[in-house]
Every structure is written in C-alpha cells, then in structure tokens.
C-alpha cells in the first residue's frame, strides 16, 4: 500500500502502476456532470475557472449533506464514464488526477497517457466508509447545483486503486 500526499507531482505519478493500492491525502475537488459542462464552457470561452486545474485532482462525487456535528455526509464516487467527453480538455488544461468508479474510454486513457496524469478508483457504494477520510469540506462554486456543486475537500488516507496509469494502461481493459 503506497501513501501519497497531494499535489500530484510528475515524480509521484511516474511511480504509480495500474492496479496499485494507494492511500491519498491532501486537497481534492468534487465535480460531476453539470460542473464539468460549465468548466468546459468556461475553458472554451477563455474565462476564469472556479479553481485552477493545474496539478489538481477531481473527485467525481456529489456528497450527501453533512449531518450536524459531522464534516461530511456519505461521499462515494459516481460513474466516471459520464465525464469522459469532458476529460481530455481538462487534462489538456493541467488536471492531473481523477477519482471515480468504473472504466474510462480509450480517448480518456490516451489523454491520460499524453498529459501524464492518473485515474483512481474509489470503493463504489461505500459512501459512509469514505466520509471518515474527509477532514474538511468547503463549497467553492455553483451552490445552485445543490449536490453537484464544487467542494474543496481535505482527505486523509483515501483508499484508492490506480485505474489508469500514466502509460494509459486501463485496469478494466
């Protein structure tokens, strides 16, 4: 089991192999369908993004509201393939890591290889379990999207599996 501290440097990414189990700690941003659509429109229009993608990790997640006294509600991954059509452009703009569930398209695997990034799998449908790994949560954009808003999360020892490594090798292929 490898322990990784974010941000993802090229050195760290270079050490990750498809199928590796890792514990990830640091800052990740939640974004799913509608946030991806908006970010893509902003990139195409040359406008400022809600957060700088450079070197960052996106977690495909729409958490449940945190109950009183808790930092986070249930927070597992959503289906990554729905983000496939947006992903190459985000990688081109500096995104380095993604966390989700399920396989990615060939185009995404190729883009991951081209931009030297990494895709992680999180245990799917284990939202209560994963909530324990979230130490801080701040809403940073699109509150009107409700569960699809962008949150900045500080995670500790988030248990992940490398799904696509920087050589474009896909665990599901």
């Amino acid at each position: 089991m490898k322990k990784i501290s974010l941000p993802l440097t090229q050195k760290i990414i270079g050490q990750l192999k498809v199928g590796d189990d890792v514990f990830l700690s640091g800052i990740v941003y939640t974004a799913r369908d509608q946030a991806h659509k908006r970010i893509t429109e902003l990139i195409k229009a040359g406008k400022k993004l809600p957060f700088n993608l450079e070197g960052q990790v996106i977690f495909y997640c729409g958490p449940t509201p945190a109950p009183r006294g808790k930092v986070m509600g249930a927070c597992g991954p959503t289906t990554s393939s729905r983000m496939d059509k947006f992903t190459p452009l985000l990688l081109q703009n500096g995104l380095k890591g993604m966390i989700g569930k399920g396989s990615r398209s060939k185009e995404v695997a190729r883009a991951i290889e081209r931009y030297k990034a990494v895709y992680f799998l999180a245990p799917a449908g284990a939202g209560a379990y994963l909530s324990r790994c979230v130490k801080k949560s701040n809403l940073i954009a699109y509150p009107e999207l409700g569960p699809e808003a962008i949150y900045r999360l500080a995670v500790k020892d988030f248990p992940l599996i490398v799904g696509v490594d920087m050589k474009g090798r896909n665990l599901y292929a």
Partner: protein
C-alpha cells in the same frame, strides 16, 4: 370504511426513506456476508469487507449507505375499505419524501429533465399504487440510485423465443452494466405484460427478499432465477468489476400474462446497496 390520515402516510414515507437509506436490508447484508466468506479473490474479498464495514458505519453513525440516496420509488397497496382523510395519497407521499430527505440529511438528486434544475427536496417520487382488498395500506419505498438505474433495459421478444435467448439477454444486460452499476447486483427481471408493465415488474422484483437457494427447487421461475444467478456469477465481473465469484447476490423474477404476439422482458439492475423498506398502516 377505515379512515387513515394523510399525515400518517406522510410520516410513514418520511421514516421509510430514512430507514432504507441508512440501514441496509438484512437479506442484502447476509448475502454480502456469504459473498465475503466464500470469496477467494483477495481484491474482491477486500472490497466486500469494505462494503460490510460501510453498512455497519452507516447504521451506527446514521449516515446514508451511499451518497446516491436515489429517486424514491413508492409502491402502495390501498385496501378498498380505506378512506384517506386530510389530503390525497400522492401529496402525502411527496410530503413524506420531502420531509424524510430533509430530516435524514439525504441527498436531493431529483431535477427537471431539460433545465436540470434541482427540485431541492427530492420530490416528486415515482408512485405505483394499486387497490387491494381490505382496510390496510401498505407502503414500500425503494431507493433507486442511478448508477444502476441507467443500465435498465427492456426487450420485446417473439412469443416463440427460446428461454436461452431470454437468459442470454438478461446476462448481456448484466455484462453491459459492468462496474458502473456497483456489483454485486440484485437483478430485477419482469417477464410478460406490456413493455411498461414488464419494466414495472422488474423494479418491483427488487423488493423481494433475495434467497439463498439451498432447498430443492421445483417451480419454473425459481429454477430460472437459480440458473441465471449461477451463470451471472461465472462472468467474473465481481465487486467493483475487478473480478471475483459474486457478480450478483440474487436474481428476482416476477411474471405476468402477456399477449399471444409478444414476450416482453425487462431488466432492472440494482447495486450492492439495494435499498427498500416497507410499512403497513
């Protein structure tokens, strides 16, 4: 006539939404335990352990089992001698969904189809009601996450189709669902009726307890369920789609008479967090 206040329906629905989302069904928990015990694949075993831990944490800390707390699908059986007072059934159910999702800190995932504007309270529910004999009202809330719901399929077979063709179709749907729909699954199957009714049956089938087949099976449908379960578990999809001997925990089939010209078969996949709760008033 027996009078039931609409408020009592609201409260029951609210409670059921929270219960179903926080406490994993016992039959599902036991099936996950069986899968964990029998699994040899190290990765699969590890994931199943996380799923069992997840269910325990959710129950203990009052957190939803999964962040996708779904769209609420509500099945109601109304006794013909019941009179609802103080409001109507549909309003009461939706009020219950609103209250339950608020109180239970559940995610509000329902939105308008084109604008994608969130309704902010997870209403409306999808409601299936049916009149039955008696003076009771039975409510079942099925929580349907969309990772699995997105993989639903219906196919209209010819009436002369071989059972093998039907089995192949069901297995194909499971394969297509793959890791995205969060295996190990409960596979709901509706056979017969019309296209829409087969789909309805496939959803309703998810409410049935999953069985651990040990007794000699005699009836046709149970045998089909058992055969399908075996074949599906030979697919080696496994937990998270990363291999293993449990791809489905159960196959539940409901049937209904159909037309001489057709044979509708619908498949509704449900994830390892198959959630539902029932109350009779």
């Amino acid at each position: 006539m027996r009078k039931i206040k609409s408020d009592a329906i609201k409260e029951a629905v609210s409670h059921l939404c929270i219960q179903a989302n926080l406490v994993l069904r016992k039959d599902i928990f036991l099936a996950l335990e069986r899968a964990y015990r029998s699994e040899k694949n190290k990765r699969a075993k590890g994931i199943l352990k996380i799923l069992l831990d997840n269910a325990s944490i959710a129950k203990k800390e009052k957190l939803p089992i999964c962040q996708d707390t779904g769209m609420a699908v509500v099945f109601v059986e109304i006794g013909n001698r019941v009179k609802i007072t103080g409001g109507n059934l549909e309003e009461a159910i939706n009020a219950g969904v609103r209250e339950g999702y608020q109180k239970g800190c559940l995610r509000k995932s329902v939105c308008e189809p084109f604008s994608r504007r969130n309704t902010r309270d997870n209403s409306p529910a999808v409601i299936h009601s049916r009149m039955v004999k008696g003076e009771k009202l039975k409510i079942s809330v099925c929580i349907k996450g969309f990772g699995a719901e997105n993989k639903s399929q219906v196919k209209m077979f010819e009436p002369t189709a071989a059972v093998k063709e039907i089995k192949d179709f069901i297995i194909r749907v499971v394969k297509d669902a793959g890791p995205d729909a969060c295996p190990p699954f409960v596979v709901g199957v509706g056979i017969g009726g019309t296209a829409d009714y087969a789909m309805f049956l496939s959803k309703k089938a998810l409410l049935k307890k999953i069985t651990n087949y040990r007794l000699p099976i005699t009836d046709y449908v149970s045998k089909l369920e058992c055969d399908l379960l075996k074949e599906i578990n030979n697919l080696n999809i496994g937990p998270m789609g990363l291999g293993g001997k449990t791809t489905a925990m159960g196959v539940n089939i409901l049937t209904y008479p159909t037309h001489i010209a057709g044979l509708p078969v619908a498949v509704n996949i449900s994830c390892h967090a198959t959630r539902s709760a029932t109350k009779t008033i």
